[in-house]
Each structure stands twice: as C-alpha cells, then as structure tokens.
Amino acid sequence: MDWSAIFSNTAQGLFSPATMAFALAALGLAMHFGFAGLLNFGIAGFMAIGAYGYAISILTFGFEWWQGILVSLVASVIFSLILGIPTLRLRGDYLAIVTIAAAEILRLLFLTNAFVDVTGSADGLSGYHNSFRAANPFPVGDYGFGPWTYNNNEMWVLVLGLLTLVICVSILLLLINSPWGRVIKGIREDEDAVRALGKNVFAYKMQALIIGGIFGSLGGIVYALPSSVNPGVYVTSLTFFVWTALLLGGAATIFGPVLGAVIFWVLQAFLSNVLPQLVSSGLLPFISSIQASTIRFILVGVGLMLLVIYRPQGILGDKKELTFVK
C-alpha cells in the first residue's frame, strides 16, 4: 500500500477545478431545489451548456475567453427560459421530468455526428486554451506546497474558479437573506399561499431557475477550463453526483453545497486510490483492480440512500427543519 500517494491524491481532491465546478453546480441546485423548491434533474445539461458554450464560442467563432464565458451565461439563460415557460406553471414533478429529458436532448445534440465540426461529437472539444492562458497573470513557474503544487496555468484556473465560487456564494447569501429570498422560500412551501398574497409566483420561479442555471453553467465552465470538454461527462449520473454533493451538505443551506462538493471529491479521490491498492495488496478478494475503482460509484449510490433516509437535511441543515418534514 502506497499511503503517501493515496493521501497526496486525496488532498488534491480538496482543492481542484472539479471540486469547484461541483460546488458551483450544487449551489445552483440549492437555489433551484433547496430554496425555490424546483426539482431540477437536469443540472448536467446546464453544465454542458456552460462547457460547450465556452469551448464552441472560442473554437468556432474565435471569441476571447471572457466572451466565451458570457456566451455560456446567455445560453444558460435562454435554456432556462425554454425549460421554464412551459413547465413552471405546472406542478413541481413535471419540471423534474422535463429537465432530465432536456439535459439528455442537449447531451445527444452535442454527441451526434451531424454537428461534428462544431461539437467534436464523441471526441469532444479541446485546444481552446490559448486566449485563456494568454490572460494568465501568474508568471511561469510552480506555486503552492506539498500535494497542492500547481503550475502557472493550473493556478490561474484555480484562482479564477475560487473567485467565481466566492462571488456566487456571496450573491446567494445576499439573495436568500433578502425579502426576495423570503418570497422564494414561501413559494417552496406553498405557491398558492404566496400567490394569494399578491406575488407573481411564475416570475419568481423563473428568476430562481435562471440564477441557479447560471451557477450551473459557471460550474460547467470551470470544469472545462483546465483541459477539455468530453460529452461522456455530462451524463445523467453527473446530475446525481451533484445532487449527492448537495444533499450531503444540506439542500437549504448556502455553505452546505460547497462542503458537500468538497467531501464528495475528497472521498472519490480517496476511494479511487485506495480500492485498487487494496486489491493489489490482496486485502480485497474476488475482484479485479478495475472493478475495485468502480465500486466507489456503488458506494456513492449507497451513501446517497443512507443520507436521504437518515439525515435528509444534510450536514449543515437545520435539524429543526427535519421535525416538520411531511
């Protein structure tokens, strides 16, 4: 057992673009589900829009990196409008069905051979980094210490990711603690009651959907910043991983999704390193090391189930809330 490698890889999970991407996406879901009560099972679609919007606008249209980010955000707003206009008037469960289907439609559109010139089909997209790296304020060199040592490009991604995360958390804090947030939470509890008090429920739900969608697509961009856009990433299981991170931390909290994403990735990194090593050192019989590294996904599923059954409010959730869950 190579414990130093295991710990070093685990430690990297603490602070990686993927962790930040998950935190952002989970923050979007917290807005959707935790605060507004919108059951969005298509967060992977929002992330795909972010990633593809960014890469395509650079590769196909020759935009600068920051223009690419703007294009992604506009695209996610349009996606929210298309999703929301027909479904937000209906009951919550319909949104769940429509979002899961819409995310799949998007993924298949990105995957199909018809648009291979633009989307790269199954190969995905890569090599869109020039503009982003040219804007890198960090001089060439290594930064950080121990397991957290990064070259200047990785550092740039991390700093930008962290900055995005801090901005999004601050915005969510301001929104949720404002009268706007009060209306949103009221809608989560009972939208007819809020309507009877003279609030335009549809408009509020749409605003929540758009804001959460923007967070989700920012997550997709941060996910795509360091390397490439791969259509195999934006599958339905990504949606459920983000949900796991959200429920782990606490759906109706603001720091919960961030904490949940960190725990999720640290555990993922730990298990994907430790399980194959357990096999090779003979401690885990009957399975190959390839099988061992996929066991972690089974564990994620089991973890999600245990979480929902025994601690549905999540780690940071208010225990009082649980007393009254119907």
């Binding site: 929104l175 007819d192 008090l197 429920v201």
Partner: protein, 301 residues
C-alpha cells in the same frame, strides 16, 4: 342552537339596509364591492358554478353557505383568479377581473385564505407575516442585492407584523416555524398574514373548520374587528352559529346556483334553504334521524 352562551355583552350591531328592492336571489345592493354576471364553471359534465347575478355588499360581513359540493369554494377560486370561469364577467371595486391573474387580484386588495390552511411551514411565524407585506422593494431581484435599499422598509414591516401578531396572540411564537403551530393557530396566522396586505375585501374559506370552541370566540371577534376597520368580509362556513351571529348578509348556494340570499334570520327560515341545506330535521334529535334511538315519531312536515 343557543347563540347566547358565547355572545359578548355588547354584541356588534348588524349592518342592515344593504339591498335595494325585494329580497330574492341576485338582488341589487346599495353599494356592491363585487358584482358577478353569468359566471359559470364546468368540470367535464358537472356544472360547479352557474351564477346569473350576484352582488356582495361593501363594508359588511357576508356569509356564503350551502351543502357540500354547492360550488362555494369554486366560486371563491373564480373570484380570486385561482380558477377561470367558462363564461361570464365579474368585477371587484369597479375593475373587471376577467383574465386577471390571481396575484394581481390580490394586489388590488382582495385577499383570501384557504379551506386547508396554508401556513408556510418552514418559514418562521414572523417571516410568514412579513411575506404578506406590500411595496417591499427588496422583493425585486435587483434591489434585493443591496440591503440598504430595503432595510428601512423591512423594519416598518416588522413593526406592523408584530402589532398584528400581538393582536392575534401569536407574538410569543414569532421565531417558531409555522409548522410547529396547532391547527387553530395556523388559521389565526393565515388570517393575520392576509391582513398584512392591507386588504379591502377579505375572503375566508371556512375559517372555523377544526377550531376549538374557545378559539372560535376569538376568531369571531377578529372577523367582526375587520368590519369595524372598514373592510368587507366574505366567508364560507358550515357553522350556522357563526353565520347567525356575525353575518350581515347570507348567500345560499346549491348545485352551483344562488338559491337564496338575505339577512341571516330571514334566510334560515326560507323553505328552499331548509330543503337544500339545513334539512327538515334540524330541530330533531340526532338519535331519531339515525334510527338508533326510537322516539315517538312526529308527524311529517
């Protein structure tokens, strides 16, 4: 059916002289706040509501009674924009309401409560109250990001909410989740929350359902208090004691139609009302009706 036991020493006087001309279903009112013309609503083959003409008097307490399935709640939903009628026009304080969404109707000053109480469970009692307030800029997305733009108004709203909570004896519960309140307290909270909107017309859907007798008394007084403050009240209720006690005007619906209306004491004697709603056995012993106790039979009415 004694109404004296709980009556306060100095009962609020009933408002009279609300109608013009002979009392009959659809009679014109001196000062109507709501006017309904030819409103009908069908669910498949069922006609839930079919009201030719109805006026609700301003500044009075009007009760809407009728058997289960008479269309009372459906009429409520139609008036408040929660449901759309198939035909007809209706207006509130001079504004035609056809095609106006529920939230705009509420903004005009017509607020309603629900038969199944809708307390916002995981919001605190105080948050529930503040949600009812009008003209809080901070409820707009862009304003909400800048607390200094809405903090002052928020303090104002909180003071008003606390005052109302005190009146409804819920002030000690302000930081509790609404879910922790009892059924009766939730009814009170829902009514108090409705008052936060400074309504002109308060529509209560079965305010007494499931409320214990002691609380009924205080709810009754709250309803009478609304009238004293110049609001118009329209309520649906099955508790005839409450209807007799506080309603200035009673409208009786059956099978979607208005079958009778008038001052409470007169309406209750109307044979159509007794047939459709009160039942001819209203003065008989319950045991006689169910047949479990045999008493000497009375002659048929």
């Amino acid at each position: 059916m004694s109404s004296s036991a709980n009556t306060p020493a100095n009962p609020a006087a009933k408002t009279t002289g609300l109608h013009i001309g002979e009392i009959r279903p659809g009679v014109a009112k001196v000062d109507p706040i709501v006017t309904i013309d030819g409103v009908s609503r069908h669910f498949g083959g069922l006609t839930a509501v079919d009201v030719e003409h109805l006026e609700i008097p301003r500044g009075a307490i009007t009760a809407l009674i009728g058997p289960n399935g008479a269309g009372k709640t459906t009429l409520f939903n139609l008036l408040t924009g929660f449901d759309k009628p198939d035909t007809g026009t209706w207006s509130f304080a001079g504004h035609a309401l056809a095609g106006i969404p529920a939230f705009k109707v509420a903004q005009m000053g017509q607020v309603r409560t629900f038969q199944l109480t809708k307390a916002l469970s995981l919001l605190t009692v105080l948050e529930n109250m503040k949600l009812g307030a009008k003209d809080q800029r901070g409820e707009k997305l862009l304003y909400s990001l800048f607390p200094f733009l809405w903090k002052a108004k928020e303090a104002e709203i909180e003071a008003k909410a606390m005052e109302l909570l005190k009146r409804f004896k819920l002030d000690t519960k302000k930081d509790d989740f609404a879910a922790s309140l009892s059924g009766g307290q939730r009814k009170l909270l829902e009514m108090a929350r409705a008052l936060m909107t400074d309504p002109v017309l308060v529509m209560l859907d079965e305010p007494m359902a499931g409320v214990n007798p002691a609380l009924t008394q205080s709810l009754l007084e709250h309803v009478l208090g609304l009238k004293k403050e110049g609001m118009t009240v329209l309520f649906v209720e099955h508790d005839m004691h409450m209807v007799r006690h506080i309603a200035d005007w009673v409208i009786v619906m059956a099978e979607g139609k208005v079958v009778a209306e008038g001052p409470a004491d007169q309406v209750m004697k109307n044979p159509a009302v007794i047939d459709a709603y009160l039942g001819s056995h209203q003065d008989d012993d319950l045991g006689t009706i169910t047949g479990r106790i045999t008493l000497p039979k009375k002659g048929k009415k």
